[in-house]
Each structure stands twice: as C-alpha cells, then as structure tokens.
Amino acid sequence: MSNAPDRHDWGRRAWQWLVDRFALKRIWDHILDRRVAKGAWYFGDGATLFFLFNVLIATGIALAWSYSPSPETAHASVRYITTEQPLGWFVRGLHYWAAGLMVFMLFFHLFRQILVGGYKSPREATWLIGVGLFVGVMVMSLLGYVLRWDERGVYGLRVATNIFYRVPLIGEQLVLLVQGGRDIGAATLSRVYALHVIIGPILLTSLVAYHMYLVVVHSITSPTERRRPVHSGDEQRKVYARDAQSDERGEDFFPETMAKSGLMAGGVFALVLLLTILIGQSYIYGPAQLTEDSLPMEEWWWSWVSSLSALTPPAWATFVYVVFPLGVLILLVLLPFIERTPYRGIRNRPLASLFVSACVLALVGLSSLRIQSAWTAYPNPEPPPVPAGFVLAPTAEHGRQLFATYGCNSCHAVDGVGPLVGPDVASLAPPRTRAFLEQVIVQPPAGWAMPAYEGRLSDEELNALVEFVLAVQILRR
C-alpha cells in the first residue's frame, strides 16, 4: 500500500523523461495544442490524402517484400502475392483502391483549392509544393500498374513512351531514357521499379512533410477570409489570428480539427475497405507481351485521358499530348502569381466555380464516353442478327453472311447491334440507292473512313451485300 505513490511517481518521472529527451512538448505546443480557424467539412480532403498516402506506404512495403522486379518473374510474383500469400489479396486490394481513390481525392483537393483560392498569399509555396505532389502522384499511379508486368501494364507504359516520342527534338532520347534502351525489357522494369518503390516514395514523403509543415505555418483558409476580401499576406495573418482565437470561428487543432478531418478520411477508408472486400484487387491480365491480339485498357482513373486521345484529330496530336499537359502544369505553377484578386472562399469566386464545374463535367463526360468506346472497331466472326419479325430474301441473307466475312460488322452496327464506328446500316439517312451503295463499297470517296473493296468482291457478292443493306436500311421507317 505504501508503494503506490512511489510507483505513480516512477511512472510520472519516466513520462517526463520521454517528453524532455524526445522534445515532445514542442511538437505538442506547435502542432497539436494550438488554436486554428474552423474549416468546412470538406476541408478534410487533405487529411484524407495524407491517410491514403500512409496506407499506400504500409501496403507498398508489404508488396515490395514479395515482388520480384525482373521481366521473367514479375508477373508470376504478383500472381503469387494475390493467390498464395496469406492476405495478399487484401494488401494488394488496399494498395490498388487506396491509389485509385487517392487520384480521385487529389483532383477533389486541387479543385477545392481553386474554388476557395487556397493558393493566395501567403500560401503560394504551399500551393507550389502541392503542384509537385500532384505530378508525383499521377506518375506513381501509372508506374504502379506497369509493375504488374501484365498486358495492361506494359501497354500503359507504351502509351507513355509514345507520348514522350512526340516531344519535339528530344523525343527519341526521352524514350531511350525511360526504356533504358532501344526496347522495353529488363532495364525498363528496373527503372519503373526504382521510380515507384525508391525514388517516388522518398520524394513524395519529403514533399508531403514540407507541404504539411507549410500548412501548419500558413494555415488554411479561415472563415473571415472566405467571407470578405483579404488583400495581402500580412492582412491574412491578422485576420487569421483573430479567427483562430475567437470562440465561434476558431477551434483547437487537437482534438476538434483532427476529429472533423478524420471523419472524411475514415469515410474514404471505409470505401477503400468496401471496394477491396467486394471487388478485391485489380484483375491480373496475362503476362506482358507485345505480339498477340489484345484489348488493353488503362486503369479507371485514366479513362478520361483515353477518351481525350480518341477524340483528338490527327493534326492536334502533338498539341494534345505534349503542349496541353505542359501548359496545364505551367498554368498551375503560375496561378498564384497571375490570379491576384483579394477574393477567397467559394461564394466570392464565381469564375472559379464556373471553371471547376467545366473541368468536372469534362472529366466525368470523357470518362463515361470511355465506357462505350464508340470509336473502337473490332473483328467479329458472327454475322449481325436478323432484326426481329423480319424475313430476308435468299440473296439478302447471303449478304448478311458476307457482312461478317468482309468485316463490315467490325465497324457497322445493324439495327443497334454492333460497333458504332461507321453508321448503323439499318438507319441510313437518307436511304441510299443501289448505285450509291455499290460505289461506296467498291471505291469510297476520298476522306471516308472506309476501305475500298475493289477487286476483292465478285459481282454476285457485291450484289448480295447491297441487297442486304437495301433490305435493312428502311427497317426503322
């Protein structure tokens, strides 16, 4: 009984020693126990990104433990991690979904800062480091799936090198640098591995630390800033200090701010867990190869880029692939120095709202276009089905078979069934004459995206094809 106070005393002294020797008091005073201005609920996006980053680091370390960065074994090791290693599917799933949602949250964070004017003085450097983080995370989100060394990964890499190849003057040198030689091979995988597993994480960790240090120093956009114009960094500091100290516009960082932003992080993490458990890790495609037919696709957070590329007219290619991304990057870097109005907060920035709405619409619209991929032609050995309640004459029926034999159905749909590259032959407008159809099949006018069948069709075959089109083209009338 008489030992109790002593034991208590020993514990207290040990705690004091820890606090003193590890200088914990300073961390407590300067980071946790301080007054900050209140943020809106959506200000938790930064904390969410930080949380996802930590999930990626932890799961990434685990994956690196079993991954083999050599072209002969990389794909097999990913398969092993997914199917054999205890909880491998869970760790890979977390890594995959945390990465995808991190890209999503990154765009959210970027757009939110544009909406509230988060780059305005004195927060220019916070913004600039953030732009660096944006580029870094986007690069990592591509390199990560290249490491799978499956078909999708290797073609993802090919798309990247093909974009580099378009850079004027140094394009070919850039490709050789990225590939580590004339061809994709062991040196390429080594480089991707070094970038994704060593260089990327070190750079991102440093930048994240610096970004957060600047957020502590320069803080977040306070309620008063969001309400009325603030003209300079000095004015912001005064306004902010008043907000932070006030009862209704300020709060304690620990635990109030952390709890609030933790709520958003927790919500997104719940989504990561849900997707991991319901859908699991990303599908593994066949081993990387560049010789067989395949239908590679990008991971979902890149699908808007794919649609953008499909909609690009040939003459614009270099602009869209090189000038546009570089232009966006330069614009992001210069933004705090170009846009110097005193208006902060969503309500005072209608132009920003308009711009961000347009960007979100473009991203969502382009991504949904990718789901249909109406531009993709693909061979199909099956002739188009005879429309319901429709009887074809023998010649037209022969034409229906030829429609597949000669690959017409690689591009043309019949009554809504088939690809949308060329016009649906069941709804040609205006209905075409026999002579017109024959002419277009044999030798289409210059500029038409249709091959010439001159010399490939017998008169009888041409007649059958035309009969089929003549029969179905009036179907919808």
Binding site: Y165, A310, W375
Partner: protein, 176 residues
C-alpha cells in the same frame, strides 16, 4: 567579421562542391540513354514460302537488347546485333504483320499503332488494321482511315536473302 565571412563562404562553397562532385556524375550516369552502336540489325522472320501471295501473316520479331547491360549475367552474346531471347520474357518480342503484296514485294508493318502504341489487330474481313484503344484504323496500305493517328503505320526495312525473309529491327522507332 572577415573570419565569419570567410567561414560562411567556405561552408556554402564546400557544400556546393561536395554536392556537385556527387550529383553531377549521378545525373550523367542516370540521364545518359543507352544506345545501340549498330546502324542496322537484321532478323529472320521466315522463309519466302511462309507468306502466300496476297495474304497478311502475323510474325514475331526478336528485338535488340544492349548486351552491355547484361554483362555478368551471361545472357547475351558479344555482338549487339545478335538476338537475345531468354525464356518466357515475351516483352523481348515484337509483333509485326507481313503482307506479301506480289511475288517480289513484301511489306512488314509494326503492330504498334502510330498514335500511342496500342497493339493493332488485323481484320481479315475488311483488310484493315484496327486499334483497340482510341479508334485508330489503317487500310491495307498502312494509311490512316480513322482515329487520332497522324502518321501511317511503321514499316520495317525488308530484304530477302536466299529465300529467307529478314527485317531490320533498327528501321522502326524504339517504341514500335
């Protein structure tokens, strides 16, 4: 004050010198692209009789790998123009299409779409090359019919030596 200035410039200058001595070689090391010494490198893709007149045949071509990068691994030959094909690493093969246009004329297209490098599929029906990614379509002459490609399909240089058909793998861009 003099001493302080001197020491300060020594600290700053010394740090920069050390950074340069380590950093510049590291950058030169990392940024120097590997290049192939040879101007041409011929690979056999089959015998002339393997390619019937008028037909399009898919083939696989062994690529160039810089032997310097594999020294010590004893995987490569000494000659940069010799093929290097270890087991299972399919990425060291490239797909191509051989079109025997006439008795004497062979055209060998790279499988790589000239837009962003996706794998073209040959459509036996329409005689077109279809890109599965962004809608590129080429006709049998390798000319663009649709989609974003802004140049015709990449073509390998071809030669026939004693009935053997060979292509120069250095005659297409490094990503084809």
């Amino acid at each position: 004050m003099k001493r302080r200035t001197l020491l300060a410039s020594l600290v700053v200058g010394g740090s920069m010198a050390a950074g340069g001595i380590v950093g510049v070689p590291v950058l030169i090391f990392a940024l120097t692209p590997r290049e192939v010494d040879a101007d041409e490198a011929w690979r056999e893709i089959g015998a002339l009789r393997d390619f019937p007149i008028g037909s399009v045949t898919p083939v696989k071509i062994a690529t160039i790998q810089d032997p310097k990068s594999y020294e010590g691994m004893q995987l490569s030959s000494k000659d940069a123009t010799e093929p290097y094909i270890p087991h299972q690493d399919e990425t060291l093969l490239r797909g191509a299409f051989v079109w025997r246009r006439s008795v004497a004329e062979l055209i060998v297209y790279s499988r790589s779409c000239t837009d962003l490098g996706c794998p073209l599929t040959f459509d036996q029906g329409s005689f077109c090359y279809l890109c599965p990614c962004h809608g590129g379509i080429f006709n049998k002459y390798g000319k663009r019919l649709a989609g974003p490609p802004d140049r015709p399909m990449y073509r390998y240089r071809v030669r026939v030596v004693d009935d053997r058909v060979e292509v120069d793998v250095l005659s297409v861009p490094p990503l084809a």
